[in-house]
C-alpha cells in the first residue's frame, strides 16, 4: 500500500465525521441551540428582566437586593479615573501573585516529577501548607510584611500556587515512558529531557492549572484587600458595604467578575494561539 493511499483513507474518515447534515427545514430550536453566543445571552437578559421586575414589583430594599438599574447607577457614583485606579491595584496584585506562583511552582514540579526522594519528602508538606486556610493567615502575613503590595502578592501566591504545582507535576509525569527511553538511548542531558520532552508534554496539564490559578489569583488579591488596603476593588466593596451603599458594592462585584472572565479568556487564548496542538480535539 502506498503512502498516498494511507492518508486518503484517514482523510475520508475525517470528512465523514465532520460533515453535519443540515436539513433545509431545520427546526427553530435546533438552530438556536447550535448558535454559540445567542442562547446564553438570551438567558442572561431574561434573568436581568425578571430580576429588575421582581425587585420593583415587591419593592425589595436595595440593601437586600438592588435592581440591575440601581447597580448600573452604582457605577456612576465613582469617577472613571478612580475605577481605573481600583482595577489596576487589584489586577496588579493578582498578576504578580500569579506570575510568582508560576515561577516558584515550576522548579518544585520538576523536582517532584524527577525525584522520588523529593516527592516523598516534600509533597506531604505541600499538602499541609495547602490545607492552611489562607484567609486566616492573611492578617498574620500583613503584620509580618507590612501594608504595601508585598503581603498582598504573597497571599495571592499562596492561594494560586498549589493547583499549579499539582497540574505541572501530573503533566511532567504524563510523558509516554518510550520517549523517556528514547531520550536515555540518545544519552541526552536531563535538562534537555525536561525542556524538549517533559515540559511540552505537560502543556495541556499546565494550562488547565493556569486556568484555575488565574481565577484564584483574583480571589487572592481581593482577600488581601479585605484585610488591609486603601485601594482596589476588594477594598471598594468592603468600604461600600460598611456605608450601606449596596448598589455600589454590587457594581464592584460586576467589575471583579469581568476581570476574572477576561483573565481566564486571556489564558485560554494564549493556549489557543501558542499551543494549538495541546487543545483537546473539538467535538462538533
Amino acid at each position: 500500500m502506498s503512502a498516498e493511499a494511507d492518508i486518503s483513507v484517514s482523510e475520508q474518515k475525517d470528512t465523514a465525521t465532520t460533515k453535519v447534515p443540515v436539513a433545509p427545514s431545520e427546526p427553530f430550536m435546533e438552530k438556536l441551540i447550535r448558535l454559540p453566543v445567542v442562547l446564553p445571552l438570551l438567558t442572561f437578559v431574561l434573568i436581568l428582566v425578571v430580576w429588575e421586575a421582581g425587585t420593583r414589583l415587591f419593592a425589595v430594599p436595595s440593601y437586600i437586593l438592588p435592581a440591575p438599574s440601581r447597580i448600573l447607577g452604582g457605577f456612576e457614583v465613582v469617577s472613571l479615573s478612580r475605577w481605573v485606579e481600583h482595577v489596576w491595584s487589584t489586577l496588579r496584585v493578582a498578576l504578580m501573585g500569579f506570575v510568582l506562583a508560576i515561577v516558584v511552582s515550576l522548579p518544585i514540579a520538576v523536582g517532584l516529577a524527577k525525584s522520588r526522594f523529593l516527592s516523598r519528602s516534600l509533597y506531604p508538606l505541600l499538602v499541609v501548607i495547602q490545607s492552611v486556610p489562607v484567609v486566616a493567615v492573611a492578617p498574620i502575613i500583613i503584620v509580618v510584611l507590612g501594608t504595601d503590595d508585598a503581603p498582598r502578592v504573597v497571599i495571592t501566591f499562596m492561594i494560586t500556587f498549589f493547583p499549579l504545582v499539582v497540574s505541572m507535576t501530573t503533566g511532567l509525569m504524563a510523558t509516554p515512558p518510550e520517549l523517556i527511553e528514547l531520550s536515555r538511548s540518545l544519552r541526552a542531558p536531563v535538562w534537555r529531557e525536561i525542556s524538549q520532552i517533559r515540559l511540552p508534554y505537560a502543556t495541556p496539564y499546565i494550562f488547565s492549572g493556569l486556568k484555575i490559578s488565574i481565577t484564584l489569583s483574583v480571589i487572592g488579591a481581593v482577600v488581601a484587600e479585605f484585610v488591609a488596603a486603601e485601594k482596589g476593588i476588594g477594598y471598594f466593596i468592603q468600604f461600600s458595604t460598611s456605608m450601606f451603599k449596596l448598589p455600589q458594592a454590587w457594581a464592584g462585584l460586576v467589575v471583579l467578575l469581568v476581570m476574572s472572565l477576561v483573565l481566564f479568556q486571556a489564558v485560554s487564548l494564549t493556549q489557543k494561539i501558542l499551543f494549538p496542538w495541546s487543545l483537546p480535539k473539538e467535538r462538533k
Partner: protein
Amino acid sequence: MTQDAISFSEAGQTFRTDSGPLTALSGVDLSIARHEFVAVLGPSGCGKSTLLRMTAGLIKPTEGMVSVFGLPVTEPRDDIGIVFQQATLLPWASVEDNVVFPAKHKRGRVSRQDRDHARQIIATCGLAGFEKRLPGELSGGMQQRVGIARALFLNPDILLMDEPFSALDALTRDAMGFELLRLWQASPKTVLFITHSIPEAVILADRVVVMSERPGRVIANLKVPLSRPRDESSLRSTEMQEFMGHLRGLLIKDKVA
C-alpha cells in the same frame, strides 16, 4: 573475522517488584550476525521487550552478559536505533522535526545537513510531501513510518523493533512489513524484531527465535526456509505452512506445560 552484532550469553533479568523478585528472562544464549534479520517470537510477558531493552543498554542484565560488536553493553550506544510499539511521536512537532529530533535532543541543535538528511529518510520511508504535517494528522501506519524514520536518522547499524506494527490494522500491518523489508534490503541493518505474530516473523526474518513463557528462555532458534525477495504468496507453500505449524506447536506446547 566475522563478529556477532549482538550476542547474549547466559543473560537474565530479575526485576525487584513490590510482590518480590520477578525473573523476566533467564539463561538466554543467542547470537545475531551483522545484517541479519532475527524475529523473536513468544507469548506476551515472556520478557521479549526486556531482551530488547538490555540490547539497547537501557537496563543492565542481572546475570550473564549482553554484547554488541564484541563489547559488553554498559550504556546506550549511538549505533542502535529503536522503534517502539506505539510510534510515540512528539505531537507538537512536524514529521520533519520528529525525524531530526535525535540530533536536536542529542546535540542540542539541528544543522542544515541534518534537515537534508531527514528529508531524504522521510522520502525513503514513503512520506515525501508530509514533512510539515503534524502526527495527529496522519494515520497510524504513517505515524509508525515516522517512528521508523526517526530510528534510522542516526544511521544505526542495529535496529531494535518492539512489536512495531502490532497497534496497526491487519492490512496496514502487512503493507508495513513489506515496506520494512524494502528499506532493509536497500540499506542492510541488523534487525532484532519482537513480535507475537507467527506469519509476521516468518515473512520478515532470516531466523526465528521462539521464547518460552516467563521466565523467558530460548526454546527454539530456526532458520526460515524461504528465499528472498518475498511477497504475499511466499507463505502459501505447504513447506511454509508446515513451518508455521511447527512454530505454533512450539508456542502452544509451552503454554500447556
